[in-house]
Symmetry: C2
């Protein structure tokens, strides 16, 4: 079955907003085995929308629109859809009652305009909108199905998952399901990762493997195609196990887990606390740690030491050490981690010092160089990294490296840190 997505609205057409709806719908439809072969965007122009829908119904079996179901005169998608399917619109009592209920609940007056949303094409299937006021509709004719979903992403997504996908699965059955699992890695570059799992990438057809570079590091996407979700997950499981066996600690999480969340969980599980000492990351490591709800259980705080004076006075870094090695050096990174651990009385101290750029840097430590240290009950460990990218990219990558190092320290206890041969 061939599907076409038609997104409508002048904001999309003028490029004032990016079309995230088309990507979201395509991705979800693909998961249940529906091939989206065309995506079209058109404005709220009656003649052009009619032409687009007519053409879409010629080349696709399933046409799904998003947008133009609002109460204003500019919202014409449902009218034009009814017209191309040869239907008339009439007020639907149930839809009208739901609208009246909605307006009574939010305490706003309902105008006649709003009733346009309760006008339903003759014989259409109705999808209730649980996230807004515009119902969706599905019109079937001569083996073609035309579906109208609302435009606001929250309403579209809610209706897609709650009503449309089950409706399509019941109507057509799923030939197959596509399920993906994402493994997050850090500390091993893309080309080295590729070498490590190259035979798996070459040998496997189902599941397939893809390596993708993301701001957080390289991710490995395992995608399986099977009759149902459980069967797809069974195909994924042994592949995930094999990849984790080969990559060990480099895999820090899966799917939507963030590194700061995983570190937080590890700290909570051990009853440990952490304090930061940040130079080049400027507070980003602390900010990421405290993005997690409940982080006040294990984050004591941190010190952003953007000057030698603050490194000396607030963190107790030895002046002579600073003078001898410079602020961007391994000994200073170690002293910072130990300093914040001592001053803020935490179990673990983590530090960053480096050149985020674009200025600064020396021959020995060019822009992008960051020393990271973790101090804890098993002594102090330090690493040197050289990151590429803009200032904010270097900051983020350094924060990621710091959190990854903290995680390994907490986890391994012996503090062993693998070699870093490549950076991203």
């Amino acid at each position: 079955m061939i599907a076409e997505l038609v997104t409508t609205g002048s904001e999309l057409l003028l490029g004032q907003i990016v079309n995230t709806n088309a990507a979201y719908m395509a991705s979800e439809l693909n998961k249940i085995g529906i091939d989206v072969c065309f995506q079209t965007t058109v404005g709220d122009n009656r003649a052009r929308m009619k032409e687009v829908l007519t053409h879409a119904l010629r080349r696709a079996d399933l046409v799904i629109t998003s947008g133009g179901l609002g109460p204003t005169r500019g919202d014409i998608t449902k009218e034009v859809s009814a017209e191309v399917m040869g239907r008339t619109l009439a007020l639907n009592d149930e839809c009208a009652a739901r609208l009246r209920e909605h307006f009574a609940r939010v305490g706003r007056e309902m105008t006649d305009n709003n009733l346009r949303q309760a006008m339903i094409p003759d014989g259409a299937h109705i999808f209730v909108n649980h996230a807004g006021t515009a119902p969706g509709v599905a019109i079937e004719q001569d083996g073609k199905l035309l579906v109208n979903l609302p435009g606001p992403p929250s309403e579209m997504k809610d209706m897609l998952h709650r009503s449309l996908l089950p409706f399509l699965l019941e109507k057509y059955g799923a030939e197959y399901m596509i399920v993906s699992r994402v493994l997050h890695t850090f500390g091993v570059g893309e080309s080295k990762l590729e070498t490590i799992i190259d035979d798996l990438v070459r040998a496997q057809k189902n599941p397939t493997l893809a390596l993708l570079v993301r701001p957080t590091g390289v991710i490995i996407r395992i995608t399986a195609k099977a009759a149902d979700e459980a069967a797809a997950r069974q195909l994924i499981a042994p592949m995930e196990e094999e990849i984790r066996r080969r990559l060990g600690d480099a895999v820090y999480g899966a799917d939507k887990e963030a590194l700061e969340e995983i570190v937080g969980r590890d700290l909570k599980a051990r009853g440990g606390t952490v304090a930061t000492a940040e130079s080049c990351t400027g507070g980003l490591v602390a900010s990421r740690l405290t993005d997690i709800a409940g982080s006040s259980d294990y984050v004591k705080g941190g010190i952003v030491s953007y000057t030698d004076e603050v490194k000396g006075e607030a963190l107790g870094v030895d002046r002579e050490l600073l003078a001898a090695h410079g602020a961007v050096s391994e000994p200073v990174a170690r002293a910072m981690a130990e300093g914040t651990r001592r001053v803020l009385r935490a179990d673990y101290g983590v530090s960053t010092t480096g050149f985020a750029g674009p200025g600064g840097g020396t021959e020995q430590n060019p822009v992008g160089t960051v020393y990271i240290a973790v101090a804890g009950p098993n002594g102090t460990q330090a690493e040197k990294h050289i990151f590429t990218g803009t200032r904010t990219q270097v900051k983020f990558r350094a924060s990621q490296a710091a959190l990854a190092m903290l995680r390994r320290y907490i986890k391994n206890k012996d503090g062993s840190i693998p070699n870093h041969e490549e950076e991203f």
Copy 2:
């Protein structure tokens, strides 16, 4: 003139990536008066792409593709384009020479595959790719123009600005130009802002005004249409002046300026330094300040005090004050700002203490409550805010409020702070 954008590639069609190219191209074409009436996405399927391009050339005068100009066999856009325009492809010597130069420069071997990028449709205009290897082409036939641009956003944008827009302007002239100016505001809610400039919104047709809610606050977009850019800017200038007159300090910047950049400029201009004391924002204020290149000139550092212990020991906040008022209170916010100013020896101290949620909060200070203080040469000022949203949204909004307050303090010297009647 009617234009259609055709973006190609299976990653777009499968929804694995969002189509930012279409939005970008539409927005830039609109600025020079070209009406984009259709956007279509199709995969690397020869028959479907041919159908899409043929149909696009029927309903539009100008068709611009993006994607599918790479060296692999899956990259078919140029071939299909040549076919629908009735042209044959031949190796172009200049393009081939540029490719060879490129590979010599980066020290990689050039394969025969790569030469596919130097195959050019008969009689086509060539756009040199300064950001990659694939040249773009423009084919003209019977009053229709078909343009092929590369898919990677950096290459597409470079070629669009460097070659395509000047080419189109020379070819068709611009009937008009659309120019927008964005004013960034903070501290006045959307509905109040709307009241203040309501008469301007109603009265004006050119320029038009739009109020939009963004993570940074409410923005006001002034859009003018005129014969050329200078004329459009002349229409915008008096409107901008009137809005700034009415909103005063609530407008903190324009176009791409970020608040942390503006605060940094103000500090640098006055030779002042700043230190932070953060509880609920957890380092985000310091991190944003240090996102700006050269911020080491005015950022001394900061203290993230996530526990009462750290507030007491590192910032010198009085234990009795903490016990009497609680950590989330105006007196503690004041003491934190004064503490970091004193301890880190900065000219200005800025602090945040609040409940970022989802847990915590009291009857008097529900989740979202944040006290912010600025200490400086003219004494200490404090504000209470109540923000809505998720934990990270509350954190960001609090950081924005803290930077906005710091900016006003530095600017006004008398430390006067307007009332906050609404939050976003």
